[in-house]
């Protein structure tokens, strides 16, 4: 039995320059599993999610590799079929709740439009489902909120609505792209708890993109550490925090500030580690270019 989402040797290049943004990335996420994607900014974490969901920027092109979603090879499918498949089994929790809701649409339709237009639900069913979901994400008085415009709600509430909206059609895979980065710390904690709760309740496969290892230790079962678009370590979370194998992972873990001693624990990643991992990436690149 293969995993629900499988990515094999995925490379993405910047059209024009041919620079590699993703370097033969492989990973798998099973139904009910939460996988964290961690790395520095620009390491390609979000790019992987975008490649899976078919929303890569125009300038980025998949050069090789395969993405299998529920056994279907996404890159071999016709665009219309791919869109339909992704629309019915996958969903996105975007990074910035402030721009992720359409400012000119009321909350209700933002949740139900997809159910009605794409999946063919009845209007009344969709409405009932939206109310139920708003309840699930702990929004009080859903009947009132459903008639509101996004700008009338706070950031935390908008993120709750986005989570509700992502789970609306019972997707089997959700990609959460730094869902808590734009929120303040107290709200972050609630939202993380909520995502964990919803995921456990619905048994969804979840890809959690973040730069925060603390978050990974709380919500994920497995993780992939990325550096410059290359997976340097793929591990179970328990194993990783007990004994990270790659030098870069160890350095990253060591760089996580501890609240007990913030001043002393705030260490940058050692330059020698960066050098080593950069060299590793360069070797991989040479092999890749050679092999083509």
């Amino acid at each position: 039995m293969s995993a629900f989402l499988e990515i094999e040797g995925l490379s993405a290049v910047l059209a024009g320059t041919g620079a590699r943004l993703l370097r033969s990335v492989s990973l798998a996420v099973d139904t009910g599993e939460v996988r964290g994607l961690v790395g520095e900014s620009g390491a390609g974490k979000s790019m992987i999610g975008k490649a899976v969901l078919g929303i890569l920027p125009k300038a980025v092109r998949v050069a090789e590799g395969a993405i299998r979603l529920d056994g279907h090879d996404l890159l071999a499918m016709r665009p219309a079929d791919r869109r339909r498949l992704i629309g019915s089994v996958a969903a996105l929790i975007p990074q910035d709740p402030l721009t992720a809701l359409n400012p000119s649409k009321r909350i209700g339709p933002q949740i139900t439009d997809r159910l009605v237009d794409i999946l063919g639900w009845g209007k009344a069913d969709a409405q009932a489902r939206a109310l139920e979901l708003l309840g699930e994400v702990h929004i009080e008085d859903p009947e009132r909120v459903i008639g509101r415009y996004p700008h009338e709600l706070s950031g935390g509430m908008r993120q709750r609505i986005l989570i509700a909206s992502a789970f609306a059609a019972e997707p089997r895979l959700i990609i959460a792209d730094e869902p808590t980065t734009a929120l303040d710390v107290t709200v972050q904690k609630q939202i993380l708890k909520l995502i964990g709760e919803m995921q456990a309740h619905h048994g969804t496969a979840l890809v959690f993109v973040t730069h925060d290892l603390g978050v990974v230790s709380k919500v994920c079962q497995s993780l992939s550490v990325l550096y410059a678009g290359k997976v340097v370590e793929d591990a179970r979370v328990a194993d990783f925090f007990a004994a990270p194998r790659h030098a870069y992972s160890r350095a990253l873990l060591a760089a996580t500030p501890k609240y007990t001693d913030p001043a002393a624990s705030l260490q940058p990643v050692d330059p020698s580690v960066i050098e080593a991992v950069t060299a590793e990436v360069a070797v991989a690149d040479r092999e890749w270019i050679h092999g083509r």
């Binding site: 339909r84 996105l92 400012p103 986005l162």
Partner: protein, 283 residues
């Protein structure tokens, strides 16, 4: 968990009332001009030439705003002129808006080659001086109401195209567009149902502004005698005639000028007011 943001209510402000009121009045006058106008706008009476408006000595009852040098009633001519001005404003404004906005939306959302072609076309188009371009077009198309409308549309679609493209470009970068793509919506549906509503307040402001511009362009072309027949009551034509007799009869020039000024001002203020009123987010 609701906060104060939902409690904000907006009132219709004085700007919207005043400009809207003037435009409504003008629309009623234009619609009912044949019945409302006290005199025949074309009837000449050389014995009643250059009669002053009603409050001045020598005014004759029935000619409220006086008569021009051919004895035609100024008020009736302004009222009939409103028909032409508003017809041009509506038809040209809406046609310009449809063409310009559609191209702008496609360019801003689709990007790529569609954007390159449309944007280059706009750049080239805007290199032509508009008034000369208009006169050239009238020369080619011949005079008449439809030529004026076509000229305005052909010249001014770029105004919409540029602004709508920029807005669509902005909106397309938002996460809600990415979510809509993931949800399986087609590009056409995203463009029309997600992006268009957010660009609409801007389009509304532009379309009313464009109507004001259309009124001005019509007046300019009438002023240089490139509009419809010389006899027909147009505001621009009246201003041109009034200019000649300014020293003997200022009212022939001033009343159509004031009407034109108020109308153009109202169009632009009305658009801005509507934009603020309908924009879901207070900007």
């Amino acid at each position: 968990m609701l906060d104060g943001r939902a409690a904000v209510r907006r009132r219709i402000n004085a700007r919207l009332w005043l400009s809207g009121g003037w435009l409504a009045l003008l629309a009623i006058v234009a619609l009912l001009a044949p019945w409302l106008a006290p005199k025949d706008p074309l009837a000449q009476d050389l014995f009643a030439a250059r009669l002053p408006p009603f409050w001045m000595a020598g005014a004759e009852p029935g000619f409220w705003l006086g008569t021009d040098s051919l004895g035609r009633d100024v008020l009736s001519r302004i009222m009939h002129g409103a028909r032409i001005a508003l017809a041009v404003a509506l038809v040209a404004g809406i046609a310009t808006c449809l063409i310009g906005s559609a191209l702008g939306l496609v360019a801003g959302f689709m990007r790529g080659w569609a954007d390159r072609i449309i944007s280059r076309l706009v750049d080239i188009w805007m290199a032509f001086p508009p008034v000369l371009f208009a006169i050239l077009l009238i020369a080619v198309l011949g005079t008449g109401l439809h030529s004026i409308i076509i000229a305005i549309v052909v010249i001014d679609w770029t105004r919409f195209c540029r602004v709508v493209r920029a807005e669509a470009l902005n909106q397309s970068a938002m996460d809600y567009v990415a979510s809509a793509k993931v949800a399986g919506r087609t590009r056409l549906s995203i463009m029309v149902r997600e992006i268009l509503p957010n660009v609409l307040p801007t389009i509304v402001a532009l379309v009313t502004l464009e109507m004001g511009i259309a009124v001005i362009v019509e007046a300019i072309l009438s002023f240089v005698n490139l509009s419809i027949s010389t006899d027909a009551p147009t505001w621009g034509g009246m201003i041109a005639e009034g200019r000649i007799s300014i020293h003997q009869a200022w009212w022939v020039l001033v009343f159509p000028l004031v009407t034109l000024f108020l109308t153009v001002l109202s169009f632009s203020q009305f658009g801005e007011g509507l934009k603020d009123h309908f924009d879901p987010v207070l900007r």
